[in-house]
């Protein structure tokens, strides 16, 4: 086991290096520069812009810039944002709690919906309940989040006026009203993300529950005279959820990485909106840091998922 983990971690190093090199090259080749907006300002002489480029090292060859970035990164220096001249780690840490709260709650909501719905659907395949669950699941993952997001805003904020659609990370105030305000503003984004995720989870839960329900030990359990509820809970659900757990583990990086589109629509100051803003303003250090951390998390949680699988299902051996 220890050797397995060590091998996986060692393999991760070249992958991370490769990922960072590709990311950096693509970013460097992409058109535009962080001071593009200055070009549209006649008050700023071209020399000033050129001086800024030199100061931030944008005129060096790509490879030099990459090596600079890499050595700094290895020393724990993530660089600073061209747009706000703030250290990148500060920026990321400032936004992490919001993303964890919003995307994390949406994952919890997704599971709370998907597991009961999926199991119910699998209990009587092709019954009315199953048909309804299936249809909703298909609708759910066919509708992109930007569409449901706008739909929710139009309905709940503009037509009905129930919920605010501009998210504030640090609402002033305290106590219950503050808590309620925080929940109120999170309802729509969490619902949008949660329903979307729930739709695909439901399909997985249903499929794996159906697989398990056909196995002999389930028939044995029923033959023993156990109640249908006990069979579902103790015998079907426990085994059917093994693949779902790995699926959830693979989704964890997304919890840290934020949801770009949804965060943009609801103005949630999370990692996703940081990433998209940085991309739009060609803020290379921020884009590099966020994507690199994301890549690291993906690799890490793939490993975690594999280990988890082996632990949950002893039949699978890790070598």
């Amino acid at each position: 086991m220890g050797a397995y983990i060590l091998r996986r971690l060692l393999i991760a190093i070249p992958s991370l290096l490769g990922i960072s090199l590709i990311l950096f090259t693509v970013l460097a080749l992409a058109p535009g520069d962080p001071f593009g907006e200055l070009a549209a300002n006649p008050n700023v002489p071209p020399e000033v812009r050129a001086a800024l480029r030199v100061k931030f090292g944008l005129d060096d060859p790509i490879l030099t810039r990459y090596l600079h970035w890499l050595t700094a990164m290895l020393h724990g220096d993530w660089g600073f944002s061209f747009a706000s001249r703030v250290n990148v780690d500060t920026l990321i840490l400032q936004r992490l709690p919001t993303t964890l709260f919003v995307v994390g709650s949406s994952q919890v909501l997704a599971l709370l919906i998907a597991i009961p719905v999926g199991l119910t659907a699998a209990r009587r395949p092709y019954s009315l309940a199953d048909q309804v669950a299936n249809t909703l699941a298909f609708v759910g993952f066919s509708l992109p989040t930007f569409f449901t997001g706008l739909l929710f805003i139009l309905l709940f904020s503009i037509k009905l006026g129930w919920l605010p659609f501009v998210y504030q990370a640090d609402l002033p105030g305290s106590g219950l009203p503050w808590l309620w305000a925080n929940i109120r503003q999170a309802i729509m984004p969490v619902a949008v993300l949660g329903f979307f995720q729930a739709a695909s989870y439901t399909r997985y839960v249903r499929a794996s529950a159906l697989d398990v329900a056909r196995l002999d030990y389930v028939t044995t359990a029923r033959a023993k005279g156990l109640s249908e509820g006990t069979v579902t809970r103790r015998h079907i659900a426990r085994n059917a959820l093994i693949p779902v757990v790995t699926l959830v583990a693979l989704q964890i990086p997304a919890v840290f990485g934020g949801a770009i589109v949804t965060e943009q629509i609801f103005r949630i100051p999370g990692i996703g909106s940081l990433l998209i803003d940085a991309m739009l303003s060609n803020d290379t250090p921020v884009v590099m840091a966020v994507t690199f951390v994301f890549a690291g998390l993906v690799i890490l949680f793939n490993l975690v998922a594999d280990l988890l699988y082996g632990w949950l299902d002893p039949r699978i051996a890790l070598r």
Binding site: D33, A40, N43, A83, L91, R95, S157, Q264, F266
Partner: protein, 596 residues
């Protein structure tokens, strides 16, 4: 009315017995144009009275609750001298102030200055080589320290130092600032400078506190804690800032203008998109003010029916224009197309340029595309009023355009496309991807087809089109096309820098990595002469005449102004928010209040 009466009237305006506006109205009744009357007052040393402040009603400071602003681009830093975009400048303006601000008519209004320098009050040297700025006494920084001349000298040193990497360096590098006494400084210029109000004025002029930024000048500028936690003299004190998300402030109880500011707290939230920002103000009323509504007027009108707010429009120096390449984009010289050693096969003939000018239906473009958010124009300089040419016209006249092209020897072939000396009149027309621009392209293409000109349309993503990347051939400054259209903003209430766009020495080319301002590559000795004369002309009226001549020369050939575009905002129904197109959206923030 004779000269003595006139002087009497001007005297009354001076001591405030007659309002500036009443004076101008009287002069207009006598047949004088309003800008002329304004110039008369300016020439007689009447500081441009703060009309924009006159409408302020609240009788005491505070008590206004929260002011919630929504910017769909989020501010990323609050140091005005690092501000990359408007969003950062606006966020800085909540806390920092310049010596003077530009009002909607393009006149100066004192902010931190005791008065506006003029020849009459002796602050402006007769030779145009220096100006004395005097600070208002008793102004304090948010931390209680007094504002002094040392802060002005420091701001100048800070901004001009290349190691600081300030984006405002251009406004400070060509002057010298010296302290006279605790409350006044002298700004010295190398040569007579008619436009003396660049440094310390408006967007680039925000003054920094020496006692806090002093240790962080030059190479250490990035480390200053105040870059993220500003201490200024402005109407609101700093509370919180999260880069790329939100700025919060609270009322400054020691603010130097009486009874201001009205609001107790201020919040500027950033991010999202323009349409939903408009919704938050116009439909739900969640926010009081939303900035820069780059939305089609049709949509704005629909949102406005909610009744929670209104669309507010002010005009500054933003112009949508069409450029006809003076050089040949299809010939490569020394690794560079559109080289100034070449001549455009069609546009080198002024008649073809004139014909195209007649084929642009500006009225329709205004009515059907820009609505309330733009005005058709024939001028490249559209404000302030004193610099606007009255001798230019635009017309949509395909018949005349056809006649001109016939005259110029471009004859229609069997396919209906004109040709001359074997060259077909087929033009490539590029612009950035933006719905109104694509619609405008279509209108122009259709009209040109009627005159036997075939136009091929091309649209480039904005991030490429407006980038300054010297390696990318699709940027607007490379101009590897026959025609191109985009918008550009004059950020100063003086057209001198704007008009550099047509000066021959500013041509964008390979030698300057396409960083030159003259993208159209049109060159005219008459233009250069008028421009250079204006640069040294100290008489404001003569200078205005020279700059107007520059405008007229440029628009007579390869430069086709289309639409003078407004700065459009969404404002809550009860909010009174005076704004100026020549300064920040928040330049007059202290004068914002809510009607009960």
């Amino acid at each position: 009315m004779d000269e003595r009466d006139l002087h009497g009237l001007i005297g009354r305006v001076k001591d405030g017995r007659l309002s500036r506006r009443a004076f101008v109205q009287r002069m207009v009744a006598l047949g004088l144009t309003a800008p002329m009357a304004g110039l008369m007052l300016a020439g007689n040393g009447v500081a441009m009275a703060a009309d924009i402040r006159a409408g302020y009603k609240p009788a005491k400071a505070g008590g206004g609750g929260a002011l919630k602003l929504l910017w769909w681009q989020a501010p990323t830093l609050i140091n005005p001298h690092f501000a990359v975009g408007t969003k950062d400048q606006d966020a800085s303006r909540i806390f920092y102030e310049p010596l003077a601000a530009w009002d909607p008519d393009g006149n100066l209004v004192p902010v931190l200055a005791a008065s506006i320098p003029s020849k009459e009050n002796g602050a402006l040297a007769a030779d145009g080589r220096s100006v004395v700025w005097t600070l208002k006494p008793g102004v304090k920084w948010h931390d209680g320290k007094p504002l002094t001349a040392d802060d002005l000298v420091f701001t100048w040193e800070y901004a001009r130092d290349p190691a600081t990497a300030a984006v405002t360096a251009g406004s400070y590098k060509d002057c010298t600032v010296e302290k006279i006494d605790d409350l006044s400084v002298r700004v010295l210029f190398d040569k007579p400078t008619p436009y003396w109000c660049d440094a310390f004025v408006g967007i680039v002029g925000m003054v920094l506190p020496k006692h806090l930024f002093g240790p962080y000048s030059g190479a250490k500028s990035r480390d200053a804690p105040q870059n993220l936690a500003p201490v200024g003299t402005g109407p609101y004190r700093f509370v919180e800032f999260r880069p790329g998300d939100i700025v919060r402030g609270e009322r400054n109880p020691n603010y130097h203008l009486p009874n201001r500011p009205y609001f107790d707290t201020i919040e500027m939230k950033g991010g999202g998109d323009a349409v939903s920002a408009a919704r938050a103000v116009l439909q739900t009323g969640e926010y009081d003010y939303a900035w820069n509504m780059l939305i089609e007027d049709e949509v704005l009108k629909r949102l406005e029916t909610g009744g929670k707010g209104r669309v507010d429009v002010v005009y500054g120096g933003k112009l949508e224009f069409l450029l006809l390449n003076a050089t040949d984009p299809n010939v490569e010289v020394d690794g560079e197309r559109s080289s100034i050693t070449t001549k455009h096969p069609a546009f080198s003939d002024p008649k073809v340029c004139q014909a195209l000018n007649l084929l642009v239906d500006r009225k329709s473009i205004q009515t059907y595309i820009y609505g309330r958010t733009g005005k058709a124009t024939a001028n490249t300089v559209n404000g302030p009023e004193r610099f606007v040419s009255k001798d230019t016209h635009y017309a949509f006249d395909p018949a005349k355009a056809n006649a001109l092209l016939d005259e110029a020897g471009w004859t229609k072939g069997s396919d209906g496309i004109r040709a001359k000396d074997g060259k077909r009149l087929k033009l490539l027309f590029q612009t950035s991807i933006n719905a109104p621009r694509q619609k405008t392209q279509a209108i122009i293409k259709q009209a040109a087809a009627k005159a036997g000109i075939e136009i091929e349309l091309k649209s480039v993503t904005g991030s490429v089109f407006f980038s300054s990347d010297p390696a990318n051939p699709d940027t607007c400054t490379h101009f590897y096309a026959d025609m191109e259209m985009y918008a550009y903003s004059a950020t100063q209430a003086d057209p001198a820098i704007w008009l550099l766009m047509y000066a021959s020495w500013e041509v964008a080319q390979k030698a300057n990595k396409w960083q030159g301002r003259n993208v159209v590559r049109w060159r005219s000795p008459a233009y250069d002469a008028a421009y250079n004369a204006a640069q040294g002309e100290l008489d404001p009226v003569k200078r205005a005449a020279l700059l107007i001549r520059c405008n007229d020369l440029a628009v007579s050939e390869n430069v086709l102004p289309l639409i003078h575009r407004a700065e459009v905002s969404a404002v809550g129904a009860t909010l009174t928010a005076p704004r100026s197109g020549w300064d920040n959206d928040l330049a007059f923030l202290p004068d914002w209040y809510r009607e009960a």
